[in-house]
Symmetry: C2
Subunit: 402 residues, 2 copies
């Protein structure tokens, strides 16, 4: 398997983006990803109890259908806490894209990121969709990867290629996210949600929801079951292991489309699974790390490993407790070896631990990449999470943004 | 019941403080509180799994004994993550005070706040204790209230007075705390802990643990059961309802001594309980609010109420989820009405809630006191918590302090 730090669309995928006028800056804010043939889809969405309208629409589609041919995504507006109107707008966005593409009515997944609690400018979006669809191309991915950005300072993109027999399979991933990042993503089929009612009259203000979105495209031929299994494993060890600010978004989404264009020997849970699964894991982990590297205001990239835990869940709870400790994060920013704050964070996580068993190692604090290795001496399980420091710039960005 | 914003010791209590040399600044760092007669004690300690040595010593004393005559407290060093040596030092501190006071060997409770992971300078402390004890006086409370401070910018003190028949009962409280504040305090008898072993060789750095400590003195005559019950109710609605930075300390402690000197008609769970309980609640709530007002770097005092929850626990979980959201706290600092961040925080708390039922009201953001009133429309329970905004100054204080 080879990894390339650039998005290269797999066979029979195209993309495009336009500026439809959601962002006041006039920058691109509407992206379309298209597969020339129907593709299998696997999605994971935020575990936040308040979910954005596009997530609800996707979930309703996914109940009837697992074949999709496109994803439409806007930045600048999260279409969340927007009630019945929000649901209508998300559905109309998806259906306008389907119409322009000449595909099935429920064939387009939809995603949004940006301000929470503000009505989506649906007329602007609908007006832009015909040109957006008409301009699709393989190279359009370079426009699309920029159009999904909000406070991101760089494009998050990666491509994995590997062989199955004589066929080359490609997995290409894009992501956005820099703040409101503490994803906990679940499989929609296993945690069904119901469509919720309106509430726009209750919204007295506006908020940015910086969210993480990841769109992954592959030309692999793979069974639905294998695709779901591989995505579960990949998300659990990547996006679910990062935190910027401990704030779980209402819009976090990971979507994979697999269109079988590589004509490879089919992948299922037994055959060729490891090749695909490892490549998908690598794509997700690289994208997740890029989100942390681009964390709002961050000066440090921090890897925290907790070993010697009774089980992986306890290891991850302890690691995330450290990663989400404001005192730990400010200590790393200040390059101060305040390791007592790590001890306090481990104890606060309420995992099984005794003082005498705790071992802590921290790499030199002057560097921009920091690793924290903790052992809690209770068992053999280990987990690794990634986070950033907490800086005055994070506060400036989030105090002033509106 | 009358409240006075000054510490006035009840009958037959005395206090004193000295600078024994723990703090590099040379400011007072060792305080002693003394009751002329043995007093009933009630204590609540942090739920952090890593507990400072003085807490472990107090717990071991409390297993055998509920009568104490003094509290000795140092600032500048938390005596936490200090292994067997730390336990020895905490016990020696307590016993040196008992010796100087001529009282029972296990008659002195002990508390520490300051750096985590650094050996207590026990010789300096022991050397200072005879003078500390010799200088006890009623007025000494004014020295003692300063000696327990770390990053605190003002003294936290309050006195309640109320009558039972012809007797006036006094409850006087002191507190310290400004950062590492997210107390969750439990009754030591109900959650027993064992003495833990050593680990100083694992400590590769030093940390401040800013902690909250509260010392409460009353001349009430009250049964042990009533005292415990009143403290549970008071702590649960005060210290356990504040958060500055979501970081639970290893040293949080609340201690009450009741010496019966007021000679009031005895208070038990039925007789005169409400008078005492309400006064203790008021004392704890005022002290808790003072901690939030003095929160490191804060520019805003924020009260968050969640109503309409299924039960009080769910209401408090939702309120604390908002209070601990860095995005919410930076929005308040920036005076930006990003109320979507409140919605996201409620959803992230995983309490039962539907989008259409959420109502949010926020008072004008330009003022220094902000109230956030949320209703989640699921029941009749309500909870209120108190927090501060997150500012560049908080980061500066915690990045640079060592």
């Amino acid at each position: 398997m080879k990894l390339y730090r650039k998005a290269v669309l797999p066979l029979c995928f195209q993309a495009n983006a336009v500026a439809c006028g959601i962002k006041r800056s006039g920058k691109p804010d509407l992206a379309l990803f298209y597969s020339e043939a129907p593709a299998k889809a696997a999605c994971r969405f935020t575990a936040n109890k308040i979910q954005a309208a596009p997530i609800k629409i996707n979930k309703s589609y996914l109940k009837n259908n697992r074949q999709f041919q496109a994803i439409i995504a806007n930045s600048g507006n999260a279409n969340c806490f927007t009630g019945a109107q929000g649901l209508k707008d998300a559905a109309e966005t998806s259906q306008a894209a389907a119409l322009a593409l000449g595909i099935e009515k429920e064939g387009v997944l939809v995603a949004s990121t940006g301000i929470i609690g503000k009505k989506l400018p649906i007329q602007k979006i609908k007006k832009a969709i015909p040109d957006l669809a008409a301009g699709l191309s393989c190279g359009g991915i370079d426009k699309a990867k920029k159009a999904i950005r909000t406070t991101d300072t760089f494009d998050k993109e990666i491509t994995a290629k590997f062989n199955i027999g004589a066929s080359t399979v490609t997995i290409c991933g894009l992501a956005k996210g820099a703040g409101m990042i503490a994803p906990k993503m679940a499989c929609p089929e296993r945690r069904p949600s119901t469509l919720l009612g309106p509430s726009p009259e209750l919204v007295e203000g506006r908020s940015r929801g910086a969210t993480m979105l990841a769109f992954i495209f592959t030309d692999a031929e793979i069974t639905q079951k294998a695709l779901d299994k591989a995505l579960d494993m990949a998300v659990d060890n990547s996006f679910n292991c990062i935190t910027v600010d401990g704030c779980m978004s209402t819009n976090d989404s990971v979507m994979v489309l697999a269109n079988a264009a590589a004509m490879n020997a089919p992948i299922d849970a037994n055959k060729n699974f490891a090749s695909f699964s490892n490549a998908l894991k690598a794509v997700c982990l690289e994208l997740a790390k890029m989100i942390v590297k681009d964390a709002e205001g961050a000066t440090k990239f921090i890897q925290i490993s907790v070993a010697g835990a009774r089980d992986v869940s306890q290891a991850r709870i302890a690691a995330l407790s450290i990663a989400n400790s404001n005192l730990f994060k400010t200590a790393i920013y200040g390059q101060n070896p305040n390791f007592g704050r790590i001890v306090a964070a481990i104890g606060a996580s309420a995992i099984e631990v005794k003082e005498k068993d705790i071992k802590i190692k921290v790499s030199p604090l002057k560097k921009s990449r920091i690793s924290v290795d903790v052992s809690v001496g209770r068992g053999k399980a280990r987990a690794t999470v990634y986070t950033s420091d907490l800086t005055p710039e994070y506060i400036k960005i989030n105090a002033e943004y509106n």
